[in-house]
């Protein structure tokens, strides 16, 4: 080793601007914030339900504000983005081996979409019912 190796510091605040793949990663991470806020909204909804029909009606009225509708639309879009990007990497994290072959990745991704559709349908049916 040389007596004076040169060390290049990685910027702690701007590193993700250095490459498009880092920006994609950060875009995915940032979507978590919307999911966090939406989860908080869901907890508030549960609280309103627990406090009786009037409290729930007041909560629903708040959701009708333009700002709330805009937030929920944005939250829906980023949640779909977050979910799709996660589904796309599941074959790497959860490979399935049958005999001497690995199950092709698209089947694992497809299974996630299938379960997502079934769960969404069940929630929809329960909601309507």
């Amino acid at each position: 080793m040389s007596c004076k190796p040169y060390i290049r510091e990685t910027s702690k605040t701007t590193w993700y601007l250095e490459h498009p793949r880092y920006k994609r990663y950060m875009a995915r991470e940032v979507t978590c914030i919307f999911i966090l806020i939406f989860t908080f909204e869901l907890v508030c909804a549960l609280g309103a339900v627990a406090n009786g029909p009037e409290a729930y009606a007041a909560f629903l009225a708040k959701l009708h504000s333009p700002l709330s509708i805009l937030f929920n639309l944005v939250a829906l879009v980023v949640t779909v983005y977050h979910s799709v990007t996660w589904f796309n990497v599941t074959p790497q994290a959860m490979p399935v081996q049958i005999g001497e072959e690995f199950v092709p990745g698209q089947y694992i991704v497809g299974a996630h979409y299938g379960i997502w559709a079934v769960v969404s349908l069940v929630v929809l049916i329960l909601g309507v019912w």
């Binding site: 040389s2 993700y16 880092y22 074959p91």
Partner: protein, 247 residues
């Protein structure tokens, strides 16, 4: 064979003379079939004998010629000139200290690699007279892809987490630990987990996935690390919720 004049911008650093690296541009008459390593060899042989860089096999097997080519970690022997414009920027692998010119200090990686015990630790001592350890094709494919790692360190140069937290054991070392953990002949997982499942081990990985995107041998270290996370999480639950179950 067609010839193109390429402006090769190379990062130079002489620890005895320079206080910081600087770019030096060489005009290289390249054949279209050349790779960047050929252009560097041309410089070394015809224009500037002082240029330092590592290389050996010229066929993507030895893993020596990893460098940043236009900001992307690449093997110089696998980066074809015809895929680039007339100006190519060549720098030493990111995240490693520069020893001289394109040569980096790799002791950190070598230390991390040895720390995960990347070799077979047999489950049971077996005398030679007992014969070979047999393995079925189904047992082989569990780890075969990870055996393709050539320790070129492109994954470390691509991993922003390694740049930010140099203590991170990193993609290649953990993928190789996973390779031996997955091997039916091996019994060394517990010994490796001390390093692999530590905070500086697999939990430092945030699944950027850059390591797998740049891997020249399609090892998919990012996938290996996620599988190690799943297995380590199962270990934790077994240990805390079902202490009577053997790992």
């Amino acid at each position: 064979m067609s010839e193109r004049q390429i402006e090769l911008e190379v990062l130079r650093y002489d620890p005895e003379k320079d206080s910081a690296p600087r770019f030096q541009t060489y005009s290289v008459p390249c054949l279209n079939e050349w790779v960047v390593l050929d252009a560097l060899n041309y410089v070394k042989e015809n224009l500037d004998t002082t240029l330092s860089y590592r290389w050996s096999c010229h066929m993507a097997v030895c893993g020596s010629c990893g460098m940043m080519i236009n900001g992307e970690p690449k093997l110089a022997c696998k980066a074809f000139i015809h895929e680039y414009s007339d100006k190519i920027r060549v720098e030493p692998l990111a995240h490693f200290p520069i020893e001289r010119d394109l040569v980096t200090v790799i002791e950190d990686f070598i230390g991390k690699l040895s720390s995960v015990k990347p070799y077979l630790i047999p489950k049971d001592d077996q005398p030679i007279s007992a014969g070979e350890f047999k393995q079925t094709p189904a047992e082989l494919i569990k780890f075969k892809q990870y055996t393709l790692c050539i320790n070129c360190m492109l994954c470390y140069a691509a991993c922003p987490q390694y740049g930010l937290v140099p203590e991170f054991v990193g993609p290649a070392a953990i993928a190789l630990a996973h390779r031996y953990n997955q091997d039916s002949r091996d019994g060394g997982r517990d010994a490796r987990q001390e390093v692999v499942a530590s905070n500086e081990g697999v939990w430092e990985c945030s699944f950027v996935g850059a390591c797998s995107e740049v891997c020249p041998k399609h090892v998919d270290p990012a996938g290996a690390l996620q599988q190690v996370k799943v297995a380590s999480t199962i270990d934790w639950y077994k240990e805390h919720l079902m202490p009577w179950v053997k790992k």
